[in-house]
Assembly symmetry: C2
Homo-oligomer: 235 residues x 2
Amino acid sequence: MLLHSVAVSIDGYNPNDYPPFAVTVDLVVLTVRPPNLKVLLTQRGESPAKGSWALPGGFVGSEQDLIDAAQSKLTDKTGIQVAEAHLEQLGTFGAPKRDPRMRIVSVAYLALVADPPEPELDEASWHRVDGLSDRSLAFDHSEILAKGVERARSKLEYTTLATSFCGAEFTVAELRSVYEAVWGTELDAANFHRKVMATDGFVEATGRTESAGRGRPARTYVASDARDLHPPIVR
Amino acid sequence: MLLHSVAVSIDGYNPNDYPPFAVTVDLVVLTVRPPNLKVLLTQRGESPAKGSWALPGGFVGSEQDLIDAAQSKLTDKTGIQVAEAHLEQLGTFGAPKRDPRMRIVSVAYLALVADPPEPELDEASWHRVDGLSDRSLAFDHSEILAKGVERARSKLEYTTLATSFCGAEFTVAELRSVYEAVWGTELDAANFHRKVMATDGFVEATGRTESAGRGRPARTYVASDARDLHPPIVR
DNA sequence: CCAAAAGTGTTAAGCCTACACCCATGT
DNA sequence: ACATGGGTGTAGGCTTAACACTTTTGG
């Protein structure tokens, strides 16, 4: 199990100066299917932890940037276009024994996506976050997931990222259901509406409305352009 | 400059499945020397970027956890005991060409330390953060530093981490000077005092006072035990 | 007309800000 | 006594939270 230095000859570096690592990306892909927050998991097809659930991920190419690796994994697993999702680095996990096979450092990314229509791949499926125990995932993936969920919860407080969970056009009620699913609380519809409207750079009216069957039809909105930036709170 | 797969034989893995990386830690060590925020830098003794300033750091050992590598670098460069400092992961930087020699993924850590007494090592020295331009450091270290400073600024808003910049025993005025240095603003002394006192889990009175020469002596405090947790705001 | 959901008004409580003011010490 | 910094009081403005109320649709 010990890894020794490997012979790779590079100018300016003594080959034995540094130990070799494998670097992977793991993805915490979250979506909201009201009233639940869901995470994308893959079932492991081979040992170790064969048959158990894990976060999607894979090796980083030798000439590939970390974010590019995360983006391509996301598109592979969900078919979601990069422009439609929010993707940010979550943290790096590199305990020596986190993978029993070898020394792997994994850079975790958090993706927030709108609930995708139909075409989920066979290998991957959506799971309720609150139905997973602290140790139900392979390796240290439960820990990574917990950090992703915590990040998502706190980011909704001080950014406008909640719109990443919505489709292109959405109502204020849909946006509210995102907050309710992620936070696991109910929000006052009246105050929520006012708060969203009062926050610059959050949503922009389309002028259209959308009827949900019963009740007064709701106006629809799109996310403002400047959404990833650094806007106000919504609590 | 191309790196190819290396032959390392590990059970369960095909040696050619993954590309080899070197993994390093880089440290953003911040301290406050009122009225300035300072960062610890080392001057590079060899090529590339010989002579220019860089963040302290180094390779992660093959059986070493990431945080352990960061802690030992911190102790090496500052002599500061781990228990006295706050250390948290900041982010991971792994652009393919960030180091011209080879593919290096660097896990950056942020350390907040009290201004150390005397024994600064020769290799490392403290620099005013606001005296550094966007490109004055080697590699992508200016970017890493910027992220560290930003993290420190925002964390002071919603945690009690400011006490990490203070010695074991401090006055409210000293604590205020920390906020003023990190944020680059002046704060109302009266309101600040009230806010700190009203925040549970922030400081605890020692019962002692400390005279700063002129004026009424200030009561001294120590950081509450539960400081890294998740306490209220101080703005 | 009635139920339901969207959206607006209103009011009281709490928080923040500015600044007046008192306290305790060194010179 | 007086200057200096520590610390408390207080009033006005702003934000929040709770909930009454009006609007607009489907049945």
